[in-house]
Symmetry: C5
Subunit: 360 residues, 5 copies
């Protein structure tokens, strides 16, 4: 549950623009890599200090500076100073409780997204904040820890596959966002499988354990939704925005990402509908089972209680010696058998009654 | 369930514009047919290779190129190159997980729709992606497999019935879309009948099987809704759009399709309302039945438990020889009959009690 | 239920503008009447053929052509040709599955509405499609069958009451629409009474029959809502529209109809709220009754089961001859009375227990 | 319930602008009072006939004409003629089933509101229609019956307290509306207290009576909401409207009323939330009680049924004389005591079982 | 509950602009402090009378006048006169039942907010009204009682930390609002912890006490929502507003507050979702428990009732002396053992039955 309500009160009362790392401490090392390319040239290296990246700033080539690990505040501050980033942006980068958003600062566009990963061990969705600063000839990306989510893009740049090497920084920014959104589909498929699995169990046997699983799923979807809904606004903001940093030809690509985003949102809503439908089924099944339990009890009880009463009658100690009115059946030759007959009649009558009520 | 969450993660990480067929492999053959017509002339033939269609591109007549089967990527690519289609459009055509949408690329309009068919065998609604590219003098349609859904339009062109032969490509595009939307009504009627059928069963006997049927219907409607809702936006986008490809006279026809779309959406929502009402009735009925079961149990138990107790009393082995206080009734002449009288009184009293409570 | 999902798939695949009568065949005869008037003159007659009405077209007086019965397609077609009506409009007139709508074709305004009638016999609301074509000096109205719903307007024209004879065709169009909307209030009152009736029964005794009645009402309201909601848009469209056919002075009257429409919608929503509240009460009542049933069972069972056990003890055949430890009470003088004392104590204790639990 | 669906079908079919009094006949007398004032002068008198008020129309002072009782249609008609009011406005004034609304007729603004009063006797909210016509130098107010709701305003004018005597007719109109809205808070407090009262009872003991009270409250809130929601639009319409009758300085005051209206709406919604929360609690409590009842039954039954069975065993008439296998315990010295031991063991075992299940 | 519906009817009927303190009387003393600063100078003092603050009005430095305690109406009136504040603003300041809002009066901006505090003693959220008047070179803040909520801002001004000393009054206004919004995160965390706590209890044991806690939480969230929702509009109104008092550079900071506000609203909605999910779980758990109780009862009853019946049979006093048909088993050598065998068979059969039904 702690995941739904992030601790972001840590910064309350501080001067705005004060850098405080908020979030789990995910990695110790900060890894800085730079990729600098245009159609002809390509350079990739890991930097020892952030200062090494500053010469790239004024080169005409596209520069992609990737920072894995955001807890070293001086690194962030140096980048901020060199690229002239607004202090509030830096504050948002290191505060991982951000809601996904996009802001246009004229010289650069700032985008915060949530990267989702499926933790197979814990069997749950995990989320990590990714911040992007897209300038005229550079993109700076910040991740909470080292990960391989951007490697397909990196690979495409290396191998000069597709259009990426022929395009500007805006296309690189698009590629990174596209990558993150594409990743959501993988998460959604995992959740879809989970839904399918739970559903089968649900039909077979509605146990409290399944209720807990449904509830867990519901919660995961609430959390997912929080990451996904703002995306719509963000991508549309970039596509329809007035920034000169995003060229018309790239906007078509953002429109494509927008379509994917709508699809992601649609799927999340569909999953929510399905999960709430499962809850309904669960409750109906419990109700049905109770009904069945009750029927068994009622059938047994209504058949045997009258029989037991009859047996009880003839267990009474009224002695036929004292009065001829006292249970004359006891003295009949076929009294015992007659009692059994009466009992059988009661049972048959009951069974007909239950048959008519469709209890069998 | 797999139908609700389509596998579209296959393309995650690929360069945008990369053609990958996503979806079920529905047919092996790719069938290419071309219909070329104007008011006076008419030509229809099946092509062996897609290249045969290219000469039609520059003819002043209206050309309708129909592709059944989208898994042969080279065919799609060749068409894309010849008609100068954006790579993202080609990607959307072969990726069958698309949400219905419409995009205006200036020289052509791109429309993705879902064709719905009722599979009588499996007793469920099936969906197929249909993509349309409407240019100034041509329409290209892509279907996942060979089908006869467009045959009424084809027939109208052949026989020169209605206005179709006198109109441009935009009218042909309208006719195809109109055809698809009209088809939805058939699906809705099938579902309406299904609802009616289930409802009758529901009133007769609310079994868990009916619950499953209701749930299945609910799911089908969620899926249907996903296909239908975006239509509204699409048709309005074409009707109110600024594209010069759609003439004012055709826009009136699109307004008509728009009305149909609203009707389709209304009907889907009505069906959803009805299905959720059925769930309510189901739960109430289960509740009612349980109530009835409980009443039977309670009536039987409350009548016989006291009687059995009375019988139990006189089964006790207190001997009247030992003490005159020990069950003197046993020694009365009419003790036994008196006991029966007491029992009858209890029963009568109970029945009056139940009558007052309106349990009968 | 068939009423909620109309069969309109009949036209699927036909060329647009093809006239096909869709709907119940409500009348055999087609009755054509014309009323032609201005402030000074008045003429009313029933026509034998539709052609007789054509001379009125060019007269400066206001002409009201009323067609009862729409299944004779040639009549509709002739009117369409004479008044130059768009084929899609004609198609909408004869297809009774239309959603209420309004379209401005410049030379005339086309309005489709639902007339509602309460069928006292079947005890349900019935609906009929009414189409209006309002031109500069004529109004053409189409009804599914002969009815007296427009007679107040007819009467007002005849007797020159109110402003109607001094006004143009737009005022006549307003009067007809106003008439239809006013009729809704009568339906709403009927439904209001029905709600009241059911509610009383609900409080007295929540039977499954009442559940069915509530459900029927709910359904009737869904259907009503479908007729009523689009009205808002329609009337506003006419009032705020740019058509030169509707004069400013008439727009004030349409604003009045608009207010009535909002009131109708409000009332429908209130009825829906009330009906769904009744469902809640129904479920709570069923729950309450079950609770009461359970309490009776529990009180009887918990009182008598222990007593029966006590009686059972002394029914055991342990003989005190064999061992002095075997049920010495049997040999006590006041053993039997002591047992009754124990039993009475159990009962008293139980009653106190139940009193404390507030079960009585 | 009759209050929720007002009878307004009475006017259906009549010519628009026909005056028909719709609503309860609340008073026989019609009381006409006039207050005429400016900063220096003040005149207040009760008129015998409405004609006496007409000289005030052209005076430069502000004239407030108040009509208590709207069932005398000739009075309304005369005022309508003298002040040149649109017939539809007059119709709305006498038809008390109006939805609150505001219309700008250029020369005057017409406002319909609902005045709410708490009837302590019947313990329910009652509503009365108040209509205001605000002109350049006059305000005409119509109430359904004589009441003291405007007396604070009257008092302020008399005593020249506040700004009212220095302001124009628009400020007087504002003061009257402000008065009505302020009155809503009193109603809301009464309902708030009612909610609190019911809630306490709910926690103490969830009886069907409380369910009825909750339902009554819910209904009262539905009715209240219908009066209150349109207010928002009305006040905003006046504040943001283009009427030259409302001066900029008065608009600030209308903004204040607007804030109050939002607060009223907020409170109504909060009350609705609370009432629906109470319904949830009610159902949960009923469920809980049933659970408790079931536990008692189950504990008693599961303890005593096995004991009774054991007692039953030793009540069987198998004679040990016939076979040594027949119940040898009967012949044991401590057989009886052993049986008690077994029974005690069963009880202890059961109690441990229930303790573990946390049923105590 | 009293907290949800504030008593604000006290002012009903009064002349608008009349100052009446509405709300709890929270403090007796009124504390007036002034902080006057620019980049170079700094002055802070507590004033004895409000008149001492008036000289600061025309100084070029930024003046922050803070009033703790709003029940002394003459202080408020004097400030109003000196700073030329609209009487309705003064009325809003002393009436603590205000909905959060923002109004732009040209010369100053008026903002009303709710400060939230967590009362650890009562274990509930408390709210206090804070009003801000932001002018060109002054900010006046009104609090209901002395509190330390603004001390971080005060500290930052004193120590000249951050940009605050270099900025204008609009930045001071921003800082105060930012402080209040940051405080909400602390409240949300407290509520988040409460949710977590209740949830654990819920899974362990769903008692009515937990139901009450859930309901209390729900109510607290309704109240919180009322404070938080209007914030969105307020901050956006300031950020996007046309006031010349807020400079472009400060608007970026307001955009940051806006993001926080959205996050607060998101979190409140998430908490609401979670609480309503908890209610669902609660009901399901109660249902499950009832089911379990029923199963225990049914298993015990269905096993022992038939056995008791069998024992009852052999307790009947049919004497084998009278008829050889009377219970011949009693005379068999292994009759007793055979009876036990039958009983064992019944039990085994029952257990198999229950196993199959998965009741164990």
């Amino acid at each position: 549950m702690g995941r739904l309500i992030k601790k972001i009160s840590k910064t309350a009362g501080l001067s705005p623009g004060t850098l405080v790392h908020v979030g789990e401490h995910r990695t110790d090392k900060v890894k800085i890599t730079v990729i600098d390319y245009n159609e002809g040239s390509f350079l990739e290296k890991e930097l020892k200090s952030v200062e090494e990246s500053f010469p790239f700033k004024d080169s005409p080539t596209v520069t992609w500076l990737n920072i894995d690990g955001i807890q070293k505040l001086d690194v962030i501050e140096k980048i901020g100073k060199n690229y002239d980033i607004h202090p509030l942006v830096l504050e948002d980068i290191v505060n991982t409780g951000q809601r996904p958003k996009h802001e246009d600062f004229g010289k650069y566009i700032f985008v915060v997204l949530k990267m989702l990963m499926y933790d197979e061990g814990k069997n749950e969705v995990q989320s990590e904040q990714v911040s992007l600063i897209v300038g005229s000839n550079y993109v700076i990306s910040f991740q909470e820890r080292e990960g391989d989510v951007f490697s397909p893009v990196r690979e495409r740049i290396r191998s000069a596959k597709g259009r990426i090497r022929k395009e500007n920084a805006d296309y690189l920014g698009y590629s990174l966002i596209d990558n993150i959104v594409d990743n959501y589909f993988i998460i959604l498929e995992k959740l879809g499988e989970k839904v399918e699995l739970i559903e089968e169990g649900l039909i077979a046997d509605p146990t409290p354990k399944i209720l807990k699983a449904i509830h867990g799923l519901k919660r995961e979807l609430i959390s997912l939704r929080k990451s996904v809904w703002p995306l719509r606004e963000i991508i549309q903001g970039i596509e329809k925005g007035e920034s000169t940093l995003v060229r018309a030809s790239t906007r078509i690509y953002f429109r494509d990402v927008y379509d994917h985003t709508i699809q992601v949102i649609d799927t999340v809503e569909t999953l929510r509908d399905m999960v709430s439908g499962m809850l309904d089924i669960y409750l109906s099944s419990v109700s049905n089972r109770m009904n069945e339990v009750m029927k068994v009890l009622t059938i047994i009880a209504t058949i045997f209680i009258p029989l037991t009463f009859i047996a009880g009658i003839y267990g009474m100690n009224f002695n036929s010696d004292i009065s001829p009115w006292n249970m004359p059946e006891l003295r009949w030759r076929f009294g015992y058998i007659a009692v059994w007959g009466v009992m059988a009649a009661v049972v048959v009558w009951m069974i007909i009654f239950f048959k008519r009520k469709k209890w069998f």
